[in-house]
Amino acid sequence: MKIDLDDVANAVLFFAVFIGIWQLVFVLGIWPKVSLPSPYAVAESFAEVILNYTLFKGIGITLGRLVIGFLISIALGTVIGLAMIKFKGFGKTMSSFSAGLLSFPSIAWVPFSILLIGFNDAGILFVVIMSSIFSITISTYSSVRNIPPIYIDAARNMGAKGLSLFLHLTIPAATPSLIIGIRQGWSFAWHAIIGAEILMSIVGLGHILSVGREFQDMGLVIASMITIFTIGLLVDRLLLFKLEEKVRSRWGLSSDR
């Protein structure tokens, strides 16, 4: 992994200036001390939740739920997407339905989930799945439909059919487009897990954020927010972005050729 010193310097400077401005705003007292804590107070909160392992436990729980929920979304979403292709009537109806539910706010699923599933891990997973599955269905449906027919013709001509056609033609041909859907689904799932944890969990990152608020501990609130932001960023940049770039460069779609 090539690390550009210039990029790192820019990021570090950006970060430092941000902290500097924050400290200045705090010192000037533009917001009451209890509403906007100093960078130092936030650092203290960080230290506290790191040292008592709360932060790591929280991250572990949140990511654990997220990964399970998201994997289920991918599995179910793909199956539904493929069913939509096979059964055209279902495909058309489900397409509109999915589009409507795609941007349905994840928090709005919470009351329904509490009543239907319960105030527990399964309920949280439900919210995560409902928030992300439609990205996967829609992207599977459109990715597979948009495979140029000529690829299918060539593959069939060369003897691919049934499962081998699916594994060796459909999936690789649809992959660049599928990855985009997966990235979108991931970000929806991330939104959903934090929201669900604020509203219906007693552990996890979202819960830590909520505790901060309950106790007017703005330092903790901001420390949680920073953690949530960082993890979301890291996963996207280190995992998904790289995956997408790898596929795109192989296909010759990458911007730096």
Partner: protein, 265 residues
């Protein structure tokens, strides 16, 4: 299959192929009873006015497209589906962008269950034949159009099909590349002795390559004339002696093109 008493082997026969298309809200008859016999080892070139259904005919022969009437006989037996015995080389190559050049060439072999080492050996051989060995591990976006077409041909040949169907494979190439490939194509045919059906709109190309040139009429198409090209090999496109054959073909083709331009919506 050899039939007792046959002196020649009819590899492929199209009998009374008829095809309709749906255009807006009326049916258009594209092919009106195409009859064509192709003997084993022949290099048959099909020419015809634009939109006359040459490509459609080729796709029907390959089994990728359906027909309303008629049959396609392969080694005397009717065929309806696509098969690796009749490999189609598309106009745009249709190489798979997610595979390297050699993986592309090996695709059909992989589908047929050929083991890895053997696949590698076969693909190397054909890439070598097409002078693309250096690019075995490149991805397709790194190749020029001419190179992509050569990979497509290598991929088709690697499957060792009985019949090679080629749908205007050189249409998108520049003149020099095309001229080179015309020579190569003849060499490949001599070496592999394949039966080839080659669709093109370029009469000079058809005359250079074909043992015979089949002229399709304007839509609804029938086989207007088969012009035998009795000339030594290898033929070069700039050879003036081919002019006579070109004129023979053009004589049949020109009126069809003129009639066709009147038909256009």
């Amino acid at each position: 299959m050899l039939y007792a008493g046959d002196f020649q082997l009819t590899k492929l026969e199209a009998k009374n192929i008829t095809k309709y298309f749906q255009h807006e809200n009326h049916r258009i008859k594209a092919l009106d009873g195409i009859n064509l016999k192709v003997e084993a080892g022949e290099f048959v070139c099909i020419v015809g006015p634009s939109g006359c259904g040459k490509s459609t005919f080729l796709r029907i022969v390959s089994g990728l497209e359906t027909k309303e009437e008629g049959e396609v006989l392969f080694d005397g037996k009717p065929v309806n589906t696509t098969s690796p015995e009749r490999i189609l080389v598309f106009q745009e190559g249709a190489l798979f962008p997610w595979l390297t050049v050699s993986d592309n060439v090996e695709f059909g072999l992989k589908m047929a269950g050929v083991p890895k080492d053997e696949r590698r050996e076969i693909s190397s051989r054909y890439l070598d034949m097409m002078q693309l060995t250096k690019f075995a591990n490149s991805y397709t976006y790194q190749l020029s159009t001419g190179m992509k077409q050569r990979v497509a041909i290598a991929r088709a040949l690697a499957m060792d099909p009985d019949v090679l169907l080629m749908d205007e494979p050189f249409a998108a190439l520049d003149a020099q590349t095309r001229d080179l490939l015309l020579v190569e194509m003849q060499l490949i045919w001599e070496r592999t002795k394949k039966t080839i059906i080659f669709v093109t709109h370029n009469v000079a190309e058809a005359v250079v390559l074909g043992t015979k040139v089949v002229v399709f009429s304007n839509r609804p198409s029938v086989v207007k004339k088969e012009v035998v090209i009795d000339y030594r090999r290898p033929r070069l496109v700039e050879d003036q002696n081919l002019a006579k054959f070109q004129q023979d073909v053009m004589k049949e083709l020109k009126p069809e093109v003129k009639a066709g331009s009147k038909n256009k919506p």
